[in-house]
């Protein structure tokens, strides 16, 4: 293609992007088609990738295709392996795509489709993709070192320590939140519970199949597992229609919480090949397949968004979670815009597979853009529903009431009409007893996804199957995060306690495995139990905590990146990471302040504790526990903020020393070695 033709194409992409963003931003009062969001997203990512990431690659990072990567220099056939860039891209995307980009945007849709969409697009292009890209490149230049090691080397020992504490706290809070989403999705849902319960024996069967019958044939066993999961979905329908079976799978939230805690402990303590690895493979297969199907469904159906661009709840009175648009929309949507957790992957397995430095752009920036696209699909799934239905599903009983008529009347009075009979018909269509108060985001996403799928394939007759498929998909997804995360958390605790008493650090010593598994499960189990028991807390208070801790990790990553850019002698380009860092600090500091000190008991932990303490039941043991929970949440939030402040001060001190010439910048990069594949590069 000639230069002028290429320029013309990019002018066209820019025009389409501007038109679609303008349509999304300016349109009021009329419903718009979801394709505007899709076009706006595709054009934003394409422009960001083509121009902004190229600028970062050329000017800020000066990627060098002739510099050997660790995959070449340290190739060992195990962790360090030169791998095709598309294969690394797939590997990286599969690792970073979790349930976060699906659930966060669904919850934030209470503000309307506009705030979430704009944050996802700008956040990804200018913050999330940049973070993943630069951390991946910096790790490649440091023999694939982890974020915590880079923080220790480049910022200081405190930076490393804080990164370590941040990782453990985010893992614990993340696991508590994930477990609570599963509980909310499965409570009083025999179909969903049956299907998810069946994935455990299916995973065990896959484990045996992989180890004994067809060693190493993972794809084959994953296809088999997937077919069995489809059978389990069908079986769930049978179970829910058979009262004698269904009653065993119709469980309350506390019962489900106990079962999930037991499952987490088992997944951490059992041999990895038996349960963890096969479930991981199965969920990856289902995850990738479903994301592709959803994308195709949206493009084929081109649904209309019924949710308005902005709702009245931008004033902070939202029923799904309380708090103003700023900062709460920006901590609720983390993974689709910027996620600190990605920096762990970008400094984990991925840098050890990269063949050439120049490929970090496509893998780091490009994979995050795809992840962000998944978040846009979640916005579409949430906003294609009638707003009244969306609020009926996502509002807790403490806000709208338990009785269907009362809940429908409350929601209709907000200007989002819904009737008890509408909700009853919808519940019947999807094979549920009720869809009221199904908080957490997962059931609402499942309803939206089922509506998109059923309009594409099968009509209303298949609505229930699609709904339970979506529910199973999310729960399977989240349970994989839960079991793998519990195990990762157990290792971290073992590493830490190994410094206190050596045997506790031995990963294969069973007393240590059991004790440390119990410790990590107790930590997230506490947050889960608190969410199950507190009608006003739960996901409402825990999700912002998750967002805050996730973005604390992103703050650490961006501090590391800014420090390295300054030490590289390119301070004029530091705003590339400093600007998103400043934004994240503004968001996390203000969100934390509101969560601790806001006088509204629905937002502030301390105000909620005061309200409970001044009530008539203040002396009751259940109330005392809720008051304790609030105070503990406030303490955890306070600790997170102190950690952010400490890492910022340490980083800023380092920047000032280097910029003022008081300290000679020492980069801990591995020395330059020319690639043996230079001819291939130049040819």
């Amino acid at each position: 293609m000639s230069k002028s033709a290429r320029a013309l194409v990019w002018v066209g992409v820019t025009a389409a992007g501007v038109l679609s963003v303008a349509t999304i931003a300016i349109h009021r009062g009329e419903e718009i088609n979801a394709m505007w969001l899709v076009v706006a997203a595709v054009c934003s990512y394409a422009l960001g990738y083509r121009f902004y990431s190229k600028f970062i690659a050329a000017r800020v990072l000066t990627l060098d295709a002739l510099r050997a990567t660790p995959a070449e220099r340290l190739e060992n056939g195990r962790d360090f392996v030169r791998t095709n860039k598309w294969v690394v891209f797939g590997h990286h995307f599969a690792a970073i795509a979790g349930p976060g980009p699906l659930v966060g945007p669904v919850l934030a849709a209470q503000f309307g489709y506009l705030p979430g969409t704009l944050w996802i697009l700008t956040g990804a292009v200018f913050a999330g993709c940049v973070q993943d890209f630069v951390i991946l490149l910096f790790s490649v230049r440091r023999d694939g070192k982890s974020l915590t090691e880079m923080a220790k080397d480049e910022i200081g020992r405190l930076g490393g320590l804080i990164a370590y504490v941040a990782v453990i706290s985010i893992v614990v809070i993340l696991l508590g939140v994930c477990a609570l989403i599963v509980v909310n999705a499965l409570k009083a849902s025999p179909w969903g519970t049956f299907t998810i319960a069946m994935t455990i024996p299916i995973a065990l069967l896959m484990g045996v199949y992989l180890r004994r019958i067809r060693p190493g044939k993972v794809l084959e066993s994953s296809v088999l597992g997937f077919l069995l999961v489809l059978l389990a979905i069908w079986g769930g329908q049978w179970a829910s229609h058979t009262p004698s079976v269904g009653r065993f799978f119709t469980l309350t939230a506390p019962t489900l919480a106990i079962l999930i805690i037991i499952y987490g402990f088992a997944a951490s303590a059992l041999p990895v090949w038996l349960l963890l690895a096969p479930r991981d493979y199965l969920s990856t297969f289902v995850k990738l397949g479903t994301i592709v199907m959803l994308a195709l469904g949206i493009v084929a159906l081109r649904p209309t968004l019924h949710m308005p661009a902005l709702t009245r709840f931008i004033d902070g009175t939202g029923p799904v979670f309380a708090g103003n648009l700023f900062p709460f929309a920006f901590v609720t949507i983390a993974c689709g815009a910027i996620s600190g957790f990605h920096s762990l992957i970008a400094s984990g397995t991925t840098p050890k597979l990269i063949s050439r430095e120049t490929e970090t752009r496509m893998v780091g920036y490009g994979a995050m853009a795809c992840e962000s696209m998944v978040a846009i699909m979640a916005v579409v799934a949430a906003c294609v529903m009638q707003p009244g239905t969306y609020f009926a599903i996502n509002s807790p009983a403490g806000i709208v009431g338990q009785a269907p008529e009362a809940a429908a009347a409350s929601i209709s009075s907000w200007g989002f009409p819904v009737t008890a009979s509408d909700m009853h018909v919808l519940a019947q269509d999807v094979g549920e007893q009720t869809l009221y108060n199904r908080t957490g985001g997962a059931p609402a996403f499942a309803v939206g996804m089922a509506q998109i799928f059923s309009h594409s394939i099968g009509g209303k007759a298949l609505m229930a199957i699609w709904y339970h498929f979506a529910l199973m998909f999310e729960a399977l997804f989240i349970l994989t995060v839960l079991d793998a995360g519990t195990r990762v958390g157990r290792f971290m605790v073992q590493d830490a306690l190994g410094h206190v008493w050596k045997p506790l650090g031995r990963t294969s010593w069973y007393p240590s495995i059991l004790a440390n598994s119990a410790l990590i499960v107790a930590a997230w189990g506490y947050f889960l139990w608190q969410g199950v028991k507190d009608p006003l807390g739960g996901i409402n208070s825990l999700w912002p905590l998750f967002g805050i801790s996730n973005q604390l990790l992103a703050t650490v990553a961006l501090c590391v990146a800014t420090t390295i850019i300054i030490k590289m002698g390119r301070p004029k380009y530091a705003p590339v990471t400093l600007a998103p860092l400043t934004w994240l600090v503004a968001v996390t500091f203000s969100a934390s302040y509101y969560k601790v000190f806001d006088p509204n008991p629905r937002i502030g932990f301390l105000a909620h504790a005061r309200l409970l303490a001044s009530g008539a039941n203040a002396a009751a043991p259940a109330t005392a526990r809720l008051i304790f929970n609030d105070r503990l949440d406030a303490l955890v939030t306070g600790i997170l903020i102190v950690l952010i402040a400490a890492i910022l001060v340490e980083s800023a001190t380092e920047w000032i020393r280097v910029l003022a010439g008081r300290k000679q910048p020492v980069l801990r990069e591995s020395p330059f070695v020319a690639t043996r594949f230079a001819a291939e590069e130049q040819g």
Binding site: V87, A95, R212, G216, F341, A484
Partner: protein, 66 residues
């Protein structure tokens, strides 16, 4: 016309091969194949058990995103 068809067929074949390779990497089939080559072993339950043992710690420590 035939040349274009051939090019299209090549393109589809190339894309399918990349998707298959990516899936094999994601699902650790490539890692197992490399293990067999490195150890000069034939696939068997024992060889796979050994591969899992070798990779257990790194797999367990692999971060999983939210």
């Amino acid at each position: 016309m035939i040349g274009r068809e051939l090019r299209l067929r090549e393109l589809v074949r190339g894309m399918a091969s990349i998707v298959r390779s990516a899936l094999q990497e994601i699902f650790d089939e490539s890692a197992y194949a490399r293990f067999l080559r490195r150890r000069q072993l034939q696939t068997s339950p024992e060889a796979y058990a050994e591969f899992l043992r070798e990779n257990e710690v790194s797999r367990q420590r692999r971060a999983r995103c939210c």
